[in-house]
């Protein structure tokens, strides 16, 4: 995705001037860093203490920990209990989800935060599912990539709320992909603005590639496998009930998609993957994701 030079400069300037630029919650960075260590060096109490520093985050984590989406079927009442029963990997996924959830602007936005998070969380879960079933990527990494792929939408909501509203409404009315409308009305897409934020946050090169190229995986020279995986998961979500608040009015043939070709080259098991079943399974993800996000937002 190329950006008109003028627009990109304008965007950069806007981003630099912005006082309220979204930041990763203070507690999250040390927690995620700690969780990167080999499992045998991790301590349950330390993770619990780190999480407990942010009460709101801790409460949300506990709520997510009680969702079947993270494999829980018995009620977890304490943070420590959540850490023990879910395992460190899941705690990391959940903490990151909750942390990023809080970054949307507080005031009324064109894109309902609930809808945005249903899409992001849904995409994260489909990425994890695909990674597990195709041995394409590390499931935890794929989850995080799915969760953060639309980071640029958060930037657009902060930086150019009015212009983004116009783009979003146009995309919704015409049933076209959001990034096409952004390009037209903003001069850049959430891939471009997401890249700027991802770089500023110092995210890993893999995540920067996902944020930048998830609508054009063929342009991703490195980490193409993960980018393509997120691209496909995103596409499936947008064509189902886990979309951005509207379903795109078109036909998608995965097998003719450039992202699919990249995935197929990287993963032999993809040839026999059951896409129909995954599509039907999206239904149950949808119910769970709707319930969870709405519970967190008390809607």
């Amino acid at each position: 995705m190329t950006t008109a030079p003028m627009s990109k400069q304008v965007l950069l300037k806007k981003l630099d001037g912005l006082r309220q630029i979204p930041t990763i919650p203070a507690v999250l960075a040390p927690l995620l860093k700690y969780l990167e260590q080999p499992v045998e060096r991790l301590h349950v109490q330390k993770v619990t203490d780190l999480l407990a520093q942010d009460k709101s985050l801790a409460a949300q984590c506990l709520q997510m920990a009680n969702s079947p989406l993270f494999g829980r079927w018995q009620k977890v009442e304490s943070l420590r209990g959540a850490v023990v029963s879910l395992g460190f990997r899941n705690v990391s996924d959940i903490a990151m989800s909750c942390g990023v959830l809080n970054m949307l602007p507080g005031e009324k936005t064109s894109l309902d935060p609930v809808v945005f998070w249903e899409h992001s969380l849904g995409c994260a879960l489909i990425c994890r599912h695909l990674a597990r079933n195709t041995n394409q990527s590390d499931p935890a990494k794929a989850y995080l990539a799915g969760l953060l792929h639309d980071l640029g939408i958060i930037v657009n909501l902060w930086v150019l709320p009015q212009e983004f509203r116009t783009a979003y409404e146009s995309a919704k009315t015409r049933g076209i992909p959001l990034h096409e409308a952004e390009q037209k009305f903003l001069g850049f897409t959430h891939c471009d603005s997401g890249r700027l934020l991802a770089e500023r946050w110092g995210l890993s090169p893999e995540l920067i590639a996902v944020v930048s190229h998830h609508h054009s995986p063929e342009n991703s020279s490195e980490h193409a496998g993960l980018v393509a995986l997120v691209h496909i998961a995103d596409l499936l979500c947008r064509m189902s009930g886990l979309n951005y608040g509207y379903i795109e009015d078109r036909e998608v043939n995965l097998f003719e998609d450039p992202g699919f070709t990249i995935l197929e080259q990287a993963s032999a098991s993809l040839k026999s993957f059951d896409w129909a079943r995954l599509t039907f399974e999206l239904d149950s993800y949808m119910d769970e994701v709707h319930g969870l996000v709405r519970a967190i937002y008390r809607k």
Binding site: Q63, N66, R294
Partner: protein, 299 residues
């Protein structure tokens, strides 16, 4: 937007799905191609329970054995499939599939065929039962008769194995169950009162040909040529793999290169055919011929 500060018991913890129910779900998918995602497992359990009461079987495990190792397992499988699809037939049954047909598929077909001199649309309802599906298709196409379909001739072929169902279809009189999904507008536009029931209006009965056809009758199947779309919902589920493959091969040959095959909700061709490719439409899926290339769609 309020972020909850304390955990809310908003999500019911219903417990993990019964492993025996999951085994039955997977068996049904493997042999019949109908998938029940986790959020529909309760429905499947209800259907199994009805059969279990009939058979005086106490547990799902025991019932699974009936479906797999018992000498009359094939008969029981058919009985369960009947329970699963019972009450499925009604007008405008799968709204998202019909919307996708009208908004995406028909315009695609018209665009491709506009280059040919023959302005004819041919749709086959294979396994039309008592006629609700072909009449629904006719009504849908009539809605566009003075718009995009102006000057196009429409031909709907409706076939079924069962003479009694076909007689009902030709009679075109329906009770409240079949007509439960009708919008008031469609009820007025396409039906006339017939005692306490409703009869399909003469306009909506035009251009539909009902005939008896066994989908396993190879010689007659070869005559169903030049189809733009085939609907075959909840019919193939009763066929064994070899017969299913034969029918699908006929469908493949009978469809024009741009043709579409629609199956029932959550019905899949996985493991049956490599010739057809799954495509995603807004909230629905269909199958297309693998070798075709429509105009590329922007992703």
């Amino acid at each position: 937007m309020t972020i909850a500060s304390v955990p809310q018991p908003a999500l019911a913890i219903v417990g993990p799905p019964d492993p025996d129910l999951v085994r039955i779900r997977d068996l049904i998918y493997q042999v019949a191609g109908i998938f029940h995602p986790d959020n529909k497992l309760r429905l499947l359990q209800d259907r199994c329970c009805r059969r279990m009461r009939e058979l005086k079987v106490q547990t799902l495990r025991e019932y699974f054995e009936r479906l797999t190792t018992h000498p009359i397992r094939q008969a029981e499988l058919t009985a369960l499939l009947n329970e699963i699809t019972i009450g499925e037939t009604c007008f405008f049954r799968n709204r998202q599939q019909l919307d996708a047909l009208r908004r995406i598929v028909i315009p695609n077909i018209l665009q491709i065929k506009s280059k040919t001199p023959l302005r004819r649309l041919r749709i086959w309802s294979a396994g039309c039962s008592t006629g609700e599906e072909p009449y629904t298709l006719r009504m849908l196409l009539l809605d566009d008769a003075s718009g995009p379909l102006k000057n196009w001739s429409i031909e709907i072929l409706a076939t079924d194995l069962n003479e009694r169902s076909l007689a009902h279809a030709r009679e075109a009189v329906y009770g409240t169950y079949s007509t439960r999904n009708l919008t008031p507008a469609n009820r007025t536009k396409y039906f006339i009162p017939h005692g306490e029931q409703l009869r399909v209006s003469p306009a909506a009965r035009t251009n539909i040909g009902f005939s008896r056809l066994n989908l396993s009758d190879d010689s007659r199947m070869t005559f169903m040529k030049s189809m733009d779309a085939i609907f075959c919902c909840n019919v193939l589920i009763y066929f064994d793999l070899a017969s299913k493959r034969r029918v699908i091969q006929h469908f493949f040959n009978n469809l024009l290169p741009h043709g579409y095959l629609f199956l029932g909700h959550a019905e899949s061709l996985y493991g049956v055919s490599d010739d057809f490719r799954l495509v995603h439409l807004p909230g629905a899926t269909a199958y297309v011929k693998g070798e075709r290339l429509l105009g590329s769609t922007a992703l």
